[in-house]
């Protein structure tokens, strides 16, 4: 399994195996490989396996991603390649020590504890388990080729976009920094309404600081949205549709 070695000048900062899970790289703590440096974008690039090849993709970062000195968008990586991000270097190498987890004979079974003892994995066991599941315990998410994308189309009112694809489980309408549908104007509420996606792919509209109306009727409780529904809240009108 290939391994990424993060270096700054000559010191090794971090090592990370690349399994079936992609390694996102950037300054934001949400990334798998976090590089806390102003020269690095919040979501800078990613490294992932595709049909046995190790791929690197730059997310259109401000300062770019370089492989062996060349600025790249999307390339195949091979052992020995040196990836430059800001002043940091990521060296691609083959990892030996992690292979034990994929072959299934890692032999990390700890001695059986008595049931009335505290049966916690110790730190080492937990780390091993995490490595194992992060590396092999997943399947790539396959999305259908033609997926209907739930979309909010702005019919009336002042917002920062005319249309919004609802990709997240939570969508907030308001002036709040976490709002997707950003309302403008002095008196716009921070959080006017919220739309949540449940696991069965239904979308519910719910009240927050305001009670939204759906097709002219104020909702009494969270309500399932259907294609064509018109949501009115805090002076804006949004049409909920499924787009191809």
């Amino acid at each position: 399994m290939p391994k990424l070695v993060l270096k700054f000048e000559n010191s090794v900062l971090k090592e990370m195996a690349v399994g079936s899970k992609e390694v996102s790289i950037g300054r934001s703590p949400e990334n798998v490989l976090v590089i806390d440096n102003p020269a690095v974008s919040h979501y800078h690039a990613r490294v992932f396996n595709e049909e046995g090849r190790l791929m690197l993709e730059d997310f259109g970062s401000m300062n770019g991603t370089f492989v062996n000195g060349q600025r790249v968008k999307m390339v195949t990586l091979k052992p020995g390649d040196s990836v430059g991000i800001g002043k940091h270097t990521i060296v691609v190498s083959e990892s030996r020590d992690l292979d034990g987890f994929t072959s299934g004979n890692g032999g990390s079974k700890p001695a059986a504890p008595k049931i009335n003892e505290t049966v916690m994995l110790d730190t080492k066991e937990r780390r091993e388990f995490l490595q194992k599941v992060a590396a092999v315990g997943e399947s790539a998410q396959v999305s259908p080729a033609r997926l209907k994308i739930p979309t909010l189309v702005v019919r009336k009112g002042r917002t920062n976009q005319r249309e919004y694809s609802l990709n997240d489980k939570l969508t907030v309408v308001g002036k709040s920094s976490m709002a997707t549908v950003k309302l403008k104007g002095w008196f716009a509420p921070k959080a006017a309404a919220q739309i949540t996606r449940r696991d069965d792919q239904t979308y519910y509209i719910g009240a927050a600081d305001k009670v939204p109306s759906v097709n002219g009727v104020p909702i009494a409780h969270p309500t399932i949205l259907k294609s064509g529904d018109i949501i009115a809240v805090a002076g804006v009108e949004l049409e909920f549709v499924f787009r191809d």
């Binding site: 949400e30 504890p113 049931i115 009335n116 998410q141």
Partner: protein, 272 residues
């Protein structure tokens, strides 16, 4: 607006059982709250729920110190890093309980439910497995934010049983998902907006078997503070029979008092 979470929690063995197999942890420094209901013979239910809440806290704490800590399992699309971390912590708890169940001879059937919430600004991550529940009281309306992973709840969702039939079914205690049963578990995760005045309730089924939604809503709405509400809910469940262990965590999202000048400053910032 600066906000803080006021919390209260209470756990009780109830009036019938001999052991309390519920566990909970509050970690206000991480805005993390976890509750688990254990199952299994002898003391294994207690062990399972304790392992669960401790593992969830431990993993989140470790990730705070080391953001590049690997995630257990595949990240879910459309939710933030903190929510995925919570799911990761629960998958890890599953692994630990599962190992404990496999290793402790005769402890098959050892398992646990889990409900957990974590706040980051106005976003609340909600995660669960099993039939413990999370409710939200907003504007006087009580809403269940989790869907039970129980046999009867699935039957109701599929339209094969009415809510009334489910309430009197002898199959009520049959779970279709729990921690520690299989090597892997699917964790339900969602995200919710948090607004001023929201009250969140995490509870084991010992509460919801005894009290109706209306009773729960009334207590949450009436009590002056979160701890009082937690104590009152447990007392009422015991008065109603207390057939099972009952554990609750009550969280209230209250606005910090902000001075007039700070408020005006905030106004300008918001409207810029």
């Amino acid at each position: 607006m600066a906000t803080e979470i006021e919390f209260g929690a209470q756990s009780d063995t109830g009036c019938v059982r001999e052991n309390n197999e519920d566990s909970y942890r509050v970690a206000p420094e991480m805005s993390l709250f976890v509750l688990s209901d254990g199952m299994g013979g002898l003391e294994s239910g207690e062990v399972a729920s304790r392992i669960t809440v401790d593992t969830v806290l431990e993993h989140c704490r470790e990730a705070e110190a080391n953001p590049s800590l690997p995630f257990a399992g595949e990240n879910i699309q459309g939710i933030c890093g903190a929510s995925n971390r919570l799911a990761s912590a629960i998958r890890l708890a599953n692994e630990v309980v599962y190992r404990a169940a496999q290793q402790g001879a005769g402890q098959r059937g050892m398992g646990a439910t889990v409900v957990a919430v974590r706040f980051a600004d106005e976003r609340m991550s909600v995660a669960h497995v099993g039939d413990s529940r999370i409710y939200r009281l907003r504007g006087g309306e009580l809403e269940q934010l989790t869907q039970d992973h129980s046999f009867v709840a699935e039957q109701v969702r599929r339209g094969k049983m009415t809510a009334e039939e489910a309430g009197s079914s002898t199959m009520q205690n049959v779970l279709v998902r729990a921690l520690g049963i299989d090597a892997a578990v699917e964790v339900d995760v969602s995200e919710e907006l948090v607004i001023e005045g929201d009250t969140i309730l995490l509870c084991s089924d010992g509460l919801t078997r005894e009290l109706s939604d209306a009773q729960i809503a009334a207590v949450l709405g009436e009590c002056a503070n979160a701890q009082e509400a937690a104590g009152r809910l447990v007392d009422l469940a015991k008065q109603a029979g207390g057939g099972d262990n009952v554990t609750v965590i009550v969280l209230r999202h209250a606005a910090k008092p902000v001075g007039a000048f700070a408020r005006i400053g905030k106004w300008f910032k918001n409207s810029a």
